[in-house]
């Protein structure tokens, strides 16, 4: 600072030029314009957790779709002579510490003992001798499907309910909110269990049961956001210009709430996956021949200590899915709401 001050008197007039005062240039945007989405994406990219999460989701989804076709085994062929083989993967089998060399926890090479030296079951086999790799990815597919379907229904109902409630306000809002109050009064787990008991068990009823209260969270967030937004000037302006309610909701309110909606959805999915696994675990889940990650874990759980591979792989995958969605959800929240980030 002091150095600069000393140099001040060296300034001469020819070092200055008159400023070009043109009001229109003030309005010019110098850099490339960053919209809301672009900005969010830029921030998301800087979040390693979220990127890892996205990669995991991508890989797992890919495997859920194509995994079952990656080896010559199908999901239903039973062959009891090869039941409960541990995992064995080519190449990796040479590294003992990875635990994928076909040796069970008692130190016996089960492939050798059962006469399947030349076969590879990447995740091992289940109690019927079915290929666990194929089954686990089929299960993942169903778990993801249930979660996606439940999230979608939550999204549709939640947005509509919350939007209507907040936009119309007054008596409508009052009635709708009282209904929600009753719904959230019942612990959702209990409501889900009761619903499963009433419907025929299966994928469909699990989705319905999960959606029964799942949308409440979404509707509350949408309602809160819309309430905040609808009194803001741009909405007032739009209305003054004669926009219909539908246009105001569709063009102005929803897009502005979208960030929140996406974040909520990101957290709905792992929730749904967990509940599905949980229901399967207490015996109210998916029925065979369908299998979800939850029911596969449940089937193997009783032999966790003897054939850990039956539980290990699906548990790792379910945990990875949950971790990934949570990471992406966190990342998105930070990206959409930069003031939370430091």
């Amino acid at each position: 600072m002091s150095m600069q001050q000393e140099k001040l008197h060296d300034l001469t007039d020819d070092m200055f030029q008159p400023a070009n005062i043109d009001d229109s240039e003030n309005e010019l945007i110098a850099g490339e314009s960053t919209g809301f989405w672009k900005d969010a994406w830029r921030r998301l990219k800087k979040n390693p957790g979220a990127i890892i999460g996205l990669v995991i989701i991508f890989v797992i989804t890919f495997l859920a779709i194509f995994g079952p076709y990656m080896n010559e085994h199908d999901y239903r062929t039973q062959e009891l002579t090869r039941a409960k083989l541990p995992a064995k993967v080519p190449v990796l089998e040479n590294f003992d510490f990875l635990g994928v060399n076909g040796v069970d926890i008692r130190g016996v090479d089960q492939y050798e003992a059962k006469g399947y030296e030349d076969e590879y079951f990447w995740f091992g086999t289940d109690e019927f001798g079915r290929d666990q790799w194929t089954r686990v990815w089929q299960g993942t597919r169903i778990s993801l499907f249930i979660a996606a379907a439940a999230a979608f229904i939550d999204f549709v109902i939640g947005v509509a309910y919350g939007g209507i409630s907040a936009y119309y306000g007054g008596r409508v809002d009052n009635v709708l909110q009282r209904i929600i109050e009753v719904l959230v009064g019942i612990p959702n787990l209990i409501l889900i269990i009761l619903a499963i008991l009433i419907f025929e068990p299966g994928i469909f009823s699990i989705i319905v049961a999960l959606s029964l209260t799942g949308w409440v969270g979404m509707s509350r967030i949408v309602r809160g956001q819309v309430l905040k937004l609808k009194t803001q000037e741009f909405v007032l302006a739009s209305r003054t210009l004669g926009a219909t309610s539908g246009r105001v909701i569709g063009k102005h309110l929803i897009p502005n709430v979208l960030g929140q909606i996406i974040i909520t959805t990101m957290f709905t999915i792992p929730g749904a996956i967990f509940f599905e696994a949980f229901l399967s675990f207490i015996g109210l889940g998916i029925r065979p021949p369908e299998a979800s990650l939850g029911s596969i874990i449940n089937n193997g759980f009783s032999s966790l200590q003897i054939y850990p591979h039956l539980v290990l792989w699906p548990s790792i995958i379910i945990s990875l899915i949950m971790i990934a969605f949570n990471l992406v959800g966190d990342g998105l929240r930070d990206a959409f709401d930069p003031k939370l980030r430091k």
């Binding site: 957790g49 009282r178 109050e181 009753v182 959230v184 009064g185 019942i186 612990p187 959702n188 787990l189 209990i190 269990i193 009761l194 008991l197 009433i198 792992p270 967990f274 696994a277 949980f278 675990f281 207490i282 015996g283 109210l284 874990i297 759980f301 966790l304 200590q305 539980v311 548990s315 379910i318 945990s319 949950m322 971790i323 949570n326 990471l327 939370l340 430091k342």
Partner: protein
């Protein structure tokens, strides 16, 4: 404040009545009959049993009877445990569940708070990342998987802790860890975010500027202000605990209410299902009410907003 609480209590009672009715009619929709070992029952006996439990009356009459009894605190008798009062059964089952739930909540909250605070104060350090990893794992790994692994390693392999049963403090450790993992994770995450936000506020800068020691700033301003919003997530957390106890009690052979609930579902013991549902709902509503009131006490803004209504 008084009016606010009064209003909340009234709406709580109404909510509870609606839930009770809803549960009753849902139960009526359920398929199947509740009698054990039907294989050996004759038709005449089933008719007679239906009579005994009032299952032959019109639904409206059953509903009326049910609601009247409910007001007297009478939840009916169990089908499976011949003739025992549902309220007695809930009474003898609630102890372990409440103890376990509470211990998990307290341990989980304290641990979560500590982790969250440390993570925020040592932002972007190894502590921070460690906490975040713990938090994500705690939320992501299903509690029953954690429970199974602990049983095997701590219980059987290393014989550090009793595998199962309910027989003193040592028996509560593993179930508490299994249930508390989600509490730790949730609270740590929440606390960290709140702390970071508070640390960025002007009044913290002011406090530092006026010469307060950083310990004082952290304790007197940051932690206190950051913990207030924790109360809002306590409601959902307590409910999450109930979910956790359902399977954990089963795995660790704990004679609690959650285990009874799951069991009664599998045996179609309607009175128990209804009784426990209502009991859980009642607790839940109560917790939400308490949380709101607590929040009103610690944060005057809420109280004022409530007073206006």
């Amino acid at each position: 404040m008084g009016r606010y609480i009064g209003g909340r209590v009234v709406s709580m009672v109404i909510t509870f009545l609606i839930i009770a009715s809803l549960t009753f009619f849902l139960m009526k929709l359920l398929p199947g009959t509740p009698f054990n070992n039907q294989e050996k029952l004759s038709d005449a006996q089933i008719v007679q049993l239906n009579e005994k439990y009032g299952l032959n009356d019109p639904v409206a009459v059953q509903y009326f009877t049910y609601m009247t009894n409910l007001f007297k605190g009478d939840l009916g008798v169990s089908f499976q445990q011949d003739g025992r009062q549902v309220s007695t059964i809930i009474g003898e089952r609630i102890g372990p569940s409440a103890y376990l739930g509470f211990q998990s909540l307290v341990v989980g909250t304290i641990l979560g708070l500590v982790l969250g605070i440390v993570a925020a104060l040592r932002h972007n350090s190894i502590w921070d990342y460690g906490t975040m990893v713990v938090a994500v794992l705690g939320i992501s790994i299903p509690s029953f998987v954690i429970a199974g692994l602990m049983q095997y390693w701590f219980g059987v392999k290393w014989q550090l802790l009793p595998v199962a049963y309910w027989d003193g403090f040592a028996y509560t450790i593993m179930p508490t860890i299994a249930i508390a993992s989600i509490v730790v994770a949730t609270i740590a995450r929440f606390m960290r975010t709140e702390m970071l936000e508070v640390l960025g506020q002007d009044y913290i800068v002011t406090a530092k500027a006026k010469g307060l020691s950083s310990t004082a700033v952290v304790i007197r301003h940051t932690i206190r202000n950051a913990s207030i919003p924790i109360i809002t997530i306590m409601g959902p957390l307590v409910v999450g605990l109930m979910t956790g106890t359902l399977v954990i009690e089963r795995i660790f052979v704990i004679p609690g209410l959650g285990e009874k609930f799951v069991n009664s579902i599998l045996t179609n013991d309607f009175p128990i299902i209804m009784g426990t549902t209502l009991f859980f709902s009642f607790l839940f509503i109560l917790v939400i009410l308490l949380v709101d009131i607590l929040y009103g006490i610690v944060d005057p803004r809420i109280r004022l907003a409530g007073g206006k209504e």
